[in-house]
Symmetry: D5
Subunit: 150 residues, 10 copies
Amino acid sequence: MTTRAELTEKIIAHKVFNDIKWADVAAAVGQSKEWTTAALMGQISLTKDQIAKVDNAMGINFSDEEVALLMTVPYRGSLPTAVPTDPLIYRLYEVVNVYGTTMKALIEEEFGDGIMSAIDFTMDISRTEDPKGDRVKIVLDGKFLPYKMY
Amino acid sequence: MTTRAELTEKIIAHKVFNDIKWADVAAAVGQSKEWTTAALMGQISLTKDQIAKVDNAMGINFSDEEVALLMTVPYRGSLPTAVPTDPLIYRLYEVVNVYGTTMKALIEEEFGDGIMSAIDFTMDISRTEDPKGDRVKIVLDGKFLPYKMY
Amino acid sequence: MTTRAELTEKIIAHKVFNDIKWADVAAAVGQSKEWTTAALMGQISLTKDQIAKVDNAMGINFSDEEVALLMTVPYRGSLPTAVPTDPLIYRLYEVVNVYGTTMKALIEEEFGDGIMSAIDFTMDISRTEDPKGDRVKIVLDGKFLPYKMY
Amino acid sequence: MTTRAELTEKIIAHKVFNDIKWADVAAAVGQSKEWTTAALMGQISLTKDQIAKVDNAMGINFSDEEVALLMTVPYRGSLPTAVPTDPLIYRLYEVVNVYGTTMKALIEEEFGDGIMSAIDFTMDISRTEDPKGDRVKIVLDGKFLPYKMY
Amino acid sequence: MTTRAELTEKIIAHKVFNDIKWADVAAAVGQSKEWTTAALMGQISLTKDQIAKVDNAMGINFSDEEVALLMTVPYRGSLPTAVPTDPLIYRLYEVVNVYGTTMKALIEEEFGDGIMSAIDFTMDISRTEDPKGDRVKIVLDGKFLPYKMY
Amino acid sequence: MTTRAELTEKIIAHKVFNDIKWADVAAAVGQSKEWTTAALMGQISLTKDQIAKVDNAMGINFSDEEVALLMTVPYRGSLPTAVPTDPLIYRLYEVVNVYGTTMKALIEEEFGDGIMSAIDFTMDISRTEDPKGDRVKIVLDGKFLPYKMY
Amino acid sequence: MTTRAELTEKIIAHKVFNDIKWADVAAAVGQSKEWTTAALMGQISLTKDQIAKVDNAMGINFSDEEVALLMTVPYRGSLPTAVPTDPLIYRLYEVVNVYGTTMKALIEEEFGDGIMSAIDFTMDISRTEDPKGDRVKIVLDGKFLPYKMY
Amino acid sequence: MTTRAELTEKIIAHKVFNDIKWADVAAAVGQSKEWTTAALMGQISLTKDQIAKVDNAMGINFSDEEVALLMTVPYRGSLPTAVPTDPLIYRLYEVVNVYGTTMKALIEEEFGDGIMSAIDFTMDISRTEDPKGDRVKIVLDGKFLPYKMY
Amino acid sequence: MTTRAELTEKIIAHKVFNDIKWADVAAAVGQSKEWTTAALMGQISLTKDQIAKVDNAMGINFSDEEVALLMTVPYRGSLPTAVPTDPLIYRLYEVVNVYGTTMKALIEEEFGDGIMSAIDFTMDISRTEDPKGDRVKIVLDGKFLPYKMY
Amino acid sequence: MTTRAELTEKIIAHKVFNDIKWADVAAAVGQSKEWTTAALMGQISLTKDQIAKVDNAMGINFSDEEVALLMTVPYRGSLPTAVPTDPLIYRLYEVVNVYGTTMKALIEEEFGDGIMSAIDFTMDISRTEDPKGDRVKIVLDGKFLPYKMY
């Protein structure tokens, strides 16, 4: 049996070997590149119709078993360890570990007690040109959800 | 002996009891609220001069031992466990855990192999008004650092 | 050899691809949807007769090896890590982590020293309509078991 | 310096020694017993006014430092280990560990892909009389938050 | 503030220095030596009356704060690590680790699917004389609780 | 290649599907049901002769490779995680975790400093009928081994 | 499907059996032996052209699937556990664990607050002859990145 | 009682507040700055004579208890967690995690099977000026110890 | 309250400052240096009489509370983490980790299935002079305990 | 692909089924039984010539892929978990855990600050006859490596 993780690797290898862009697959699906990539990375389920569009854009020719895997709401979590070892992903974890209490303090000062939703949430990743070296800009935008008294 | 963690708790309790804003302390220091809060949360060292400005703005009256602690480059890391238990901070960890491979895929598609710096890095936390509920917007902006062949 | 985990994935993929409802499978078995889903998720053993009813309702055509797996009392535990990474399941873990001592305090105030059974126990999951957004209602109902002096 | 954990222990010891009921403290504060107990267990912050009412009902005579601790939004998480060792709390963790994937499957069948909020959330703990032994009933009631395409 | 762990150490040191037997303390309380020792080891709460009897038998002269600690239902768990390091206790853990699936298989063959209660439960520790070396006999006696269909 | 764990699963599935009793297999081997089950659970090695008797009683028809696996002294440890997730086995772990220091205190009071052997050791699992619900009785019987001065 | 880890093992086994030197493969690729070995150990991605040169030098005859794996930016991290068990690699970890705070203190004294990049970074491993036994010399050379105020 | 960790913090705070250089303390002791800093960080024991020189150079006025702590061979290990959270130290850990198998492969190709000693070992940390940003250069120099047949 | 760990540190600091030898303390107690050191390291309990001899030889002047601690059977385990960080102790752990299965294979080949006792056990540590560098010789000598059929 | 772990299992199964002694294989290779067993357990690499001798003595008929695996310097570490679960190996770990600080204290008293090498190291396992039960004798003999000032 194929696992979701193996299917993810197959999709990535196919993309790399054929030099396909996530942005182009996203355009075919009609969603943002962030949402589409997350779906193909095994973190979001797709409909049969969206899978057909992905297959059309990438030329993978999914089997029925693979379609079923892509339709299933996944057990989310994309990292093999609680603390990531990949340097790019670790830097994001480092931001949470070092600045987490700072973010908590500032969000609570501005909004009161509550959280930023990670569900009613969008993410945008872009490049800012800079003569001293281009910069990565990640915007996380989530609804504030206040704790309630009852 | 006082530890840095105990000093952090003392500063927070003083702030809460006297209803002081991080933004006002930051204005007194002359840096952003994000940088200043992180310093007082024990993640960044301050100069003697900056500590005097903080003390002036907050009215804590730091001892010499406390000043020395605030001047020392801290052993960074603000969380007591590798996986955070506080719901606000956990949501940020969840973003890294669920969308980490997505962020990696998109940054590498745009920039090639490398990382977003967590050192040459700024962070901005703000509120976006929204009729369906206001939103938290977190912007992470770091220099892209490419891996090099040698 | 097939493992119980692989069989679980096969059953889920079959369900998703063919758009079968857990509630319908449960009706065929003659038990609640909570009990039946837990059994097919690999947490409860089934009898040969119940397996035949499941097979009839789902059309999977289990092999003898698969029937044996479904008949075996499983080594229970449905999560791959001690702290769940899937956001839906994490929220339930968060309730235990944040409110666990509260639940303990209130149950002990009401009943004295003891526990709520997780064996003589039923679970009910339902939807409450709400104009501000529908709500999930989870009812856990377990026998109180007092500690005894001896 | 007093920590929040030490203050929690002090409040509990005072309650036990003087035979005070959480329900009575909650009535004095004007909130549910679940919310009030969670606050005094160090998981929710209180206002100065609410603290005064607690103090009035319990007769503890909080110091300014203790009031500041109770006013501070806590770093949430009430358990000393990721897997709880206390049998009462472990039983709740066991429910999540054994039935977590079942709950996920049923919530997703009913609502689609999303989560039950642990923030816009209430909890109710009560006793059901039963001739075979009284039962504990825990109702968790949280808003469903759907994942969004973007 | 005294913690429950510190009080436990104080009671043990007092017992050792004054050569008091747990069995004699238990006789004064009117319960088994297993139950009484577990209570004084911080795993079971005592009533004011039982505490007075313990104090009478041991001559410790508990303060009010210590009485409150002994009255409080403890957060149970007597070991500092998930895998015990003390050789005596490790041997018991080893039995669970090596023979756990055997015990599960035999209990389920005899009783069907369910568990042995660790709450409606007694424990008896005794010595069996044996010319090849005396033996420790531990009897665990718990009610069988069957899983139920619903 | 087959692993010992896979062979264990194969033996269990065969037993369940054909409704064979461990006690009957044990009678064929001429050892207790506890010892025999532990051996087939992969925790004790068997001789060629004993394997032949097992095969005769169960009708599995072991291959040479499987015989070699059953003859090999296994790397013992029957649980996939340090803290068991299966509720039946967890209850035994809970006894060690909650009552471990109690057992240590009572064994040392009776015998002096030392341990109960987990090697020169027998285990007996039986049913006690009880009108309030039958009980599981587990007897652990191990030689006391004293620490020595030298 | 082949995983990157399996491909790494295949490359190493081929190298060992045919007595190929990493230095010779590196010369064929036109990069340092450190960079080339890291790439073939699965920590750096290669271009199609570089892969062809590797294949030419080693005579492995990579399949298209293997080429795709070598082209993909890997999820970095070459060790199976957070604390390495291999003695050679453990010694390096020991240096970080024992002397980490020393390195931090000296780098901060020389450069101020910041880090040594592990991305804009080269590594050189060489042999120094020594009559008392030859020595391994590892030079780590990374750009200093200062923390910034903002 | 003072612990070694508390004494380390006291020494660092004293150094920072009085703007003392590790290099100057090392010159007073007559050893390298790397060795001297490691000793004061609690990783190497000092003689009474060396402690007197440190005290002279820093003006701390150690008590007898503090002298005894500095004379004791420490339980080495300078980090509070197995995976460091401080970004500077993490980068060194990252080098071991990502390039560890590469270093192993190259050392073994050059020297045969064995390790680089972390005991017969020196470390040198220096600054290299570079117009694109100065660089940190860390040289680890350890004796090669071969595995032996016997 | 003093803990056993703090008392251990006090004894070591006293020994180091006054240049006392473990071997001389052992001679005063009338046991081996290995046993005596282990007792003072907090791993073995001492009698009142032995404590008096230690006190006489070392000149510490133990308080009654300290005597009680030394008389108590300790919760054994001398290391702060499951994997030791101190290089000397780690090397011993490395021997177990790397050669553990080898030791198991050879002991079982010689003795059959069973273990080497760590209770009926002596340890001897000595120096062997060697022109290429003196050697540490550790002899572990434990009774073989066979597994039994029953 | 075969892994080194699978090859180790194959060699052991072959040895057990054909009743071959490690000592005889060692004699064929011309090394000690300890070294030879460790090599076949996957902890030491063998030369082509040694592999041929092993194959001759055992009659396994290794494939080229298997020869390559045996020639490769392995990633050492023979245990599946940081704390061993096998009782025989655990007893050795227990010695390190309970007596580790004792061994450290005695080696440092005899030799000064340093370690016992685990590389320039031999191990000898033998049987001592004893009327009260034969004993296992393990001799660890390693070069002392002193820490150096520089």
